[in-house]
Amino acid sequence: MTHLLEMADITKRFPGIVALNDVSFAVQAGTIHGLVGENGAGKSTLMKILSGTYPAGTYEGAIRLHGKTLHLHTAADALEQGIGIVPQETSVIDQLTVAENVVVGKWLQPGGLLVSQSAIRHTVRNFLEEYDITLDPAISVSRLTTAQKQLVMIARALYRKPSVLILDEPTSSLAIDEIERLFASLNVLRQKGVTTVFITHKLTEIFELTDRTTVLRDGEVAGEFDRSEYDQALIIAAMVGRRIENLYPTRHSPIGADEVLRVAHLTVPHPTIANRNIVEDVSFSLRRGEILGLAGLVGSGRSETVNAIIGRTAYSGTISVFGQSVSIRSPADAKRAGIALVTEDRKRDGFLPNLEIRPNTTLHSLPQVTRRGLMDVSAERRLATEAVARFNIKAQSIEQMVVSLSGGNQQKVILAKVLMDNPQILFLDEPTKGIDIGAKNEIYKLMLDLVAQGISIIMISSELPELLAMCDRFVVLAEGKVADEFLRLDADEHRVMLAATRARSQITQAAHASASELTA
């Protein structure tokens, strides 16, 4: 059996650690090959070898394409030799058009001396049609959705006519419907004979899309599965190395009767578009010890809702805490009212990367560690040490930099920080994004501990199974409005998706109707 791409016995060492140990796998031409593993399993190290970021000679083993051994020294080398990598972070130039973004770096036509916009647009239009990619080459990239930007990046890689296309976690910032559209595009590419390596940590994507899958764990190949052998339990066991019993723990504590938070007619203006609201007339309530799930697609106004309540953005509407109307104009106001937020993007606004664990954990509780304006160093050390133990943060000491921790442990530091201030109402915006299954399980257990203590939680998550498993009640947002509300009893994936997408189609229909009225 001949393979298009072969990674043979790859071993990559860093000082004191073996990142990849004797990893081999082979990709057959015209297939989508899955590469799955938890964070830290070695997926990105492997990609960096394949993209020339770690040049030939810094690792052992061989990369063979079409049976020929490659010696890659730079990222440009990899591109030249036919390896088209689409990195995880979208790296498009917002100010340029789709066409310019696709050809970027390959501006000139063969034999040309000057950059010709019209020629570029023409070539790219033909190219996009050839691959059935529905993008307008003339449109500015700033007007595209995240999913469309992802497509631009794929088009950019394809434009170089690579032998193999490598997608590194392409769905991590996409909503469910956008993922479906991306998958449709990838299926078309497969029919056209494009070979793809698809890296992910989501099992459902592996099952839906791939022909064969290699599982990585701790830098080694932990299993290889053909589509015919796909089995959820087997692949999870290979990924994690042990069986996780009860990924989602069951709630035993009762929900309180009293209402701790009531939001009425919350409206948040759109941050960039005038005369439009990103959240419109949203009302809901939260009971003591309840976990309320805010569901909806990315961009439906979920994060904007909690960010407004916490006072990060301007809003209109009324907020009552424990039956009393409160005016929240800044996060400081929310803090006084007992409301806390764990933000969606922990790297952007979750922690202080240039400070240690200790000051990060006490950040929301400075009054607890100061006496008349002076820091009480021993009290701070004690509180930080307690937090590290309570939240099971794996670190060498409380003086370790937070940036050097794993994603899951960083998230635990943020939770420790927020909870040290004893909030009564907690907003968790994508609390398990990009962390390993073990840490996820710990966060779920923590959530149940908190509600057992009478703390109320609003949870936002793009991973529907997690949201369905953890929440007691759901509010589904669509286009900034409440589209549906129901209890756990009545909840299933179908109902959430229906509510989340139905409103959108209704709104587009309404827009079409008014447009046709105008023309008539």
Binding site: I17, R312, S330, P331, A332, R348, D349, L355, L363
Partner: protein, 335 residues
């Protein structure tokens, strides 16, 4: 499979233990700048042993005091993530306001000094308001303020030196407490106080949090604008104090006081490891950075090198210092 997991987890710990002492030593930023300070001092001492004579050390301290006082305020402001180019001009303005009040308005000395300090505070408030409320970048705002303050200085003084100042002013400037000058004493006291505030008070902690990530600070209930405003006011007041101290030293109100100080202040502080991007640095580091600059300038003079090389050397050291800082950051985030 479980064996493989424990192996890879244990290895880095074994590796670090042997080098832990060194790594910890070098991860303290002050140590990183202390080594070049000692190295430069030793080199110039070997070239000319009078370099480390008590007289020369005193001279160097006297020279560094004025800029040093401003550098303390600048360190705070830089830690909060902002910066100020107008400090030199502010120093000149405060000195001229103080001189004018004493000579032309015949105000008593304490009142004139207060006027100088308040002038500094006002400049800081205006800078802070324009940067934080109107959102004009600090670079533009304070560059504009540099010109405005310089212009007002010349408008008040009509371009002439204001003298004679009341006698006690000159006496204060000439005095040699502890064999140095009042400026040095004030600088040292302020440095000690500032180091304490930065590391041991909640205000100090807030400086680092705001500079590290203003959004994280906001979520913690801190008002980033208020903290940054305090930094702007502080550095301008420090500039005013430094300007008036030099005024008393030369016993005249010269409109050229503070000319070009802003770049020396920023160079010294940055050499000392205070990040231009906010969130990190220390008062001790900034003071060492300033001392490095002073040692190199004085050392070149004492070694009979063409004085024009001094500025070249300062420029070189500043770039090398920041390059080292960035490399250290990179290795830290890679580890």
């Amino acid at each position: 499979m479980a064996v493989a997991a424990t192996k890879s987890e244990n290895r880095p710990r074994l590796g670090t233990r042997t080098t832990a002492v060194f790594r910890r030593l070098f991860s303290v930023p002050e140590v990183g700048v202390l080594i070049p300070l000692i190295a430069f001092a030793l080199i110039f001492y070997l070239v000319n042993p009078t370099f480390l004579s008590p007289a020369n050390i005193t001279t160097m301290l006297r020279a560094v005091a004025y800029i040093g006082i401003i550098a303390i305020g600048m360190t705070f402001l830089l830690i909060t993530g902002a910066f100020d180019l107008s400090v030199g001009a502010t120093a000149g303005l405060c000195a001229i306001v103080c001189s004018y009040a004493m000579v032309n308005l015949s105000w008593p000395i304490p009142l004139a000094v207060l006027a100088g300090v308040l002038t500094g505070a006002l400049v800081g408030l205006v800078n802070g308001f324009v940067v934080l409320k109107l959102g004009v970048p600090a670079f533009i705002t304070t560059l504009g303020m540099l010109n405005i303050a310089k212009g007002i200085t010349y408008l008040i003084s009509k371009g002439y030196t204001i003298y004679p100042l009341p006698e006690p002013v000159g006496v204060f400037g000439e005095a040699e407490p502890f064999g140095t000058s009042w400026a040095v004493v004030i600088f040292v006291l302020m440095a000690i106080a500032a180091a304490f505030v930065a590391t041991r008070t909640s205000y100090g902690r807030k400086l680092y949090v705001v500079g590290g990530n203003p959004e994280v600070a906001r979520l913690a209930g801190i008002n980033p604008a208020r903290i940054q405003l305090s930094g702007f006011v502080l550095v301008s007041v420090c500039a005013g104090i430094a300007g008036m101290l030099l005024m008393s030293r030369i016993a005249t109100g010269q409109p050229t006081i503070g000319l070009g100080w802003e770049l020396n202040v920023i160079a010294g502080v940055v050499i000392g490891g205070v990040s231009l991007f906010g969130g990190s640095g220390s008062v001790v580091g900034a003071v060492i950075g300033l001392l490095i600059m002073q040692v190199v300038t004085s050392g070149l003079v004492i070694s009979n090198v063409d004085p024009y090389w001094q500025t070249v050397a300062i420029g070189l050291i500043m770039i090398v210092a920041v390059a080292i800082d960035i490399l250290r950051r990179k290795s830290k985030s890679a580890a």
